[in-house]
Structure formats: structure tokens, C-alpha cells
């Protein structure tokens, strides 16, 4: 299998990973209900986004038969994910992670080993993002905020938004149209560039890419750099780019 020795990024069936796969990394795309997580993942994923059904408690799970799994708790949630093959054998996975407090038990598991999180915020309902911001900060994952603008979003200044969301000065905040591939890639880049900046400022252990090494300090590691400050200012100008 994995029969695509060419430059093709996936195997012939589009699902099995090519032999050239070397490193797999993940970023969480987090946010409240309906904010655009699936849309963003879909706009950058090379596969149709897949999902797993997850139980909110792993206790008393029994592998039954092909019909699946029986368990005492009935609460399940669908976690969708997409995949992007980058150059040089790196494959990036994006996990759409719901932000409600009741998904806390799943968070640690999904966040394990993640590079960071992109937190989507709908500026029409900023309060809905407080839970997810709390969970991200608690997990110690470095994050960036992407503001999705909708036709009826009203305009806020960068300062108003940063204040409402109570963001640390170094946390990137960008405007994003999750339906647009380039815009979604830019939002991911704002996060990754900030991870790099944090790492430079913080020494080799600064980012969460090493499993088990998601440091407490990572949330504070985002010291403001010139480049970053520029990116935030230009990226976050709350233009009403709604169509």
C-alpha cells in the first residue's frame, strides 16, 4: 500500500498515508458552537473532514463487536478533523474542538502533544468564547485568536476586543474568514509564527511540540516582538469585510 512514491501528497486511495510521511503534528481549532471550526478545517484540509464519536467519559467502555462500543454513559460528541500534507513529510492535523466546559475531560486527551490552538471567536457573541479560552489557558497550550466576521458583526477596536477577551499582550489576534483558504492559512500562520517567537524568547523548551513538555510557562511565553506586534495591528483591524 501507500503506493504513491511520486510527489503526490497522499496515497492512491487518498486516506492511507504515503511512505514519505515523517512527522505528524496537530493544532486544535477551538471555539464555541457554530463559530466556524468545521468551515475552517474544511477550507484547508486535503481530505474531506472526518470525525470520531467520543465519549465524554472513558469509564466502562467495552469493545463489543463491529456495531461499535457500548458503555454506560450515553454522552458522545463528534470531534472532526482534517489533514494537510506540508512539504518535507510533515502532515498537519487540525482538530475541531468544542469549547464548552462539559468537554473538559476530552480536552487533555486531544490537546496532548498539540503545537497550539487557534481559538475562533464570533464577535457577535464574545461571551460564548470565555469557556474555551479558559480551557485553553488551563491546558497550557499556546494559542492565537481568530475573529470570524459575519455580515452583521459590528465594529470594535482592537483594544476593545483584546480587553473583552482579556488577552495577554503577546497573544496574536487576527481577523479570519474561515471559508477562505488563504485567510484560514494566515490565521494558522499567525499561531505558528507566535510559537516560533515564543520559543526564541523562551529557549528550546518553549513550545508544546514535545509531547509531555507543554509547559505551564507557555501561556506567558508570548513576549511581544516587533514582528508580531505589527502582524497583530494590521491583521486585527476590524474591517467589516463581510460579504
Amino acid at each position: 500500500m501507500a503506493s504513491a512514491p511520486s510527489s503526490s501528497s497522499t496515497s492512491a486511495d487518498g486516506l492511507h498515508l504515503p511512505d514519505t510521511t515523517r512527522e505528524l503534528v496537530k493544532i486544535l481549532v477551538a471555539g464555541p458552537f457554530g463559530v466556524g471550526k468545521t468551515t475552517l478545517i474544511d477550507s484547508v484540509s486535503e481530505i474531506r473532514p472526518l470525525h470520531t464519536e467520543e465519549h465524554l467519559s472513558e469509564a466502562s467502555v467495552a469493545v463489543d463487536d463491529l456495531a461499535g462500543v457500548r458503555e454506560k454513559t450515553t454522552t458522545t460528541v463528534a470531534i472532526d478533523f482534517g489533514r494537510i500534507s506540508l512539504e518535507a513529510g510533515i502532515v498537519l492535523y487540525l482538530f475541531g474542538t468544542p469549547g464548552q466546559e462539559r468537554f473538559r475531560s476530552l480536552w487533555a486527551d486531544i490537546a496532548h502533544g498539540a503545537l497550539g490552538a487557534l481559538v475562533l471567536v464570533d464577535t457577535r457573541r464574545i461571551d460564548d468564547s470565555f469557556d474555551v479560552l479558559g480551557l485553553v489557558e488551563e491546558s497550557g497550550l499556546p494559542y492565537a485568536v481568530a475573529l470570524n466576521t459575519f455580515p452583521d458583526s459590528r465594529q470594535y477596536t482592537v483594544e476593545q476586543l483584546r480587553g473583552s477577551l482579556d488577552l495577554e499582550p503577546g497573544t496574536p489576534m487576527v481577523v479570519c474568514d474561515a471559508r477562505d483558504t488563504n485567510s484560514s492559512v494566515d490565521a494558522l500562520l499567525a499561531l505558528v509564527q507566535n510559537l516560533l517567537a515564543g520559543q526564541a524568547a523562551d529557549g528550546p523548551a518553549g513550545a508544546g511540540a514535545v509531547p509531555e513538555a507543554v509547559p505551564e510557562a507557555a501561556t506567558e511565553a508570548t513576549t511581544e516582538t516587533e514582528a508580531l506586534a505589527g502582524a497583530v495591528e494590521s491583521g486585527a483591524a476590524p474591517t467589516p469585510e463581510a460579504r
Partner: protein, 119 residues
Amino acid sequence: MTGRRSGRPLVPAYLSTGGVARPRHTELERLSLLTGGAGPAPDGLPAARHALYDVLDGGTLTLVEAAALLELPVSAVRVLAAELAEQGLVSLRPPVPPAALPASDLLKRVADGLRALKQ
């Protein structure tokens, strides 16, 4: 998806501890790579393990992709993969080979890779 019915293999105790104790050798995470053996599944393989073996089809999938394709929770596929690995039918690999650490170079390559995606 084929496979015979079997007695219900109960999930080993380590799963009911919420994943604190993990299978030996490898720590299976969502992005752990599972590579299936070539050829048909051996006789007598329990149905769920059989299904995982079949979906790998001799190739490589991440644990989470196998779970999605089988419509099973990740927690269940963790167990199945560990069992198949124990039987020597599946090989396991961590998402990032230890040689690829430290992460600074990896992050830089992720950034470069993302930039290259833009049209």
C-alpha cells in the same frame, strides 16, 4: 466490513482507568501511526481487531483516522491497536520520531509548509 462475530473481548483494565496506564512500549495517541501487516488477517482474529487490520490494508493510518473509518471511539481503537501490535500484526510509530526533536526546527518547517500552501 467483514469479520466474524466473536466473544466480546472486554477492554483491558488500563482503559477503564481513563488512559492513565497505557500499553507497554508505546503510548498511543491520536496521531500514532499504525501500519498493518501484509496479507489476510489470521484465522480467529476477533471481529473488532479484524476490522482494524482490514482498514489498515497493509498501509499506514493514524489512530484517529482508523477510528473515524471504523466509526469507533479513539479509546477503543487504542486498545485494538495495542492488541494487534502485541500479536505482531500491526507496527506502531509515534507521530514525531524522537530524532525530530527538539521542536524548533519542526515549527519552522510547519511555518514554511503553511506559507507554501498559499495561492
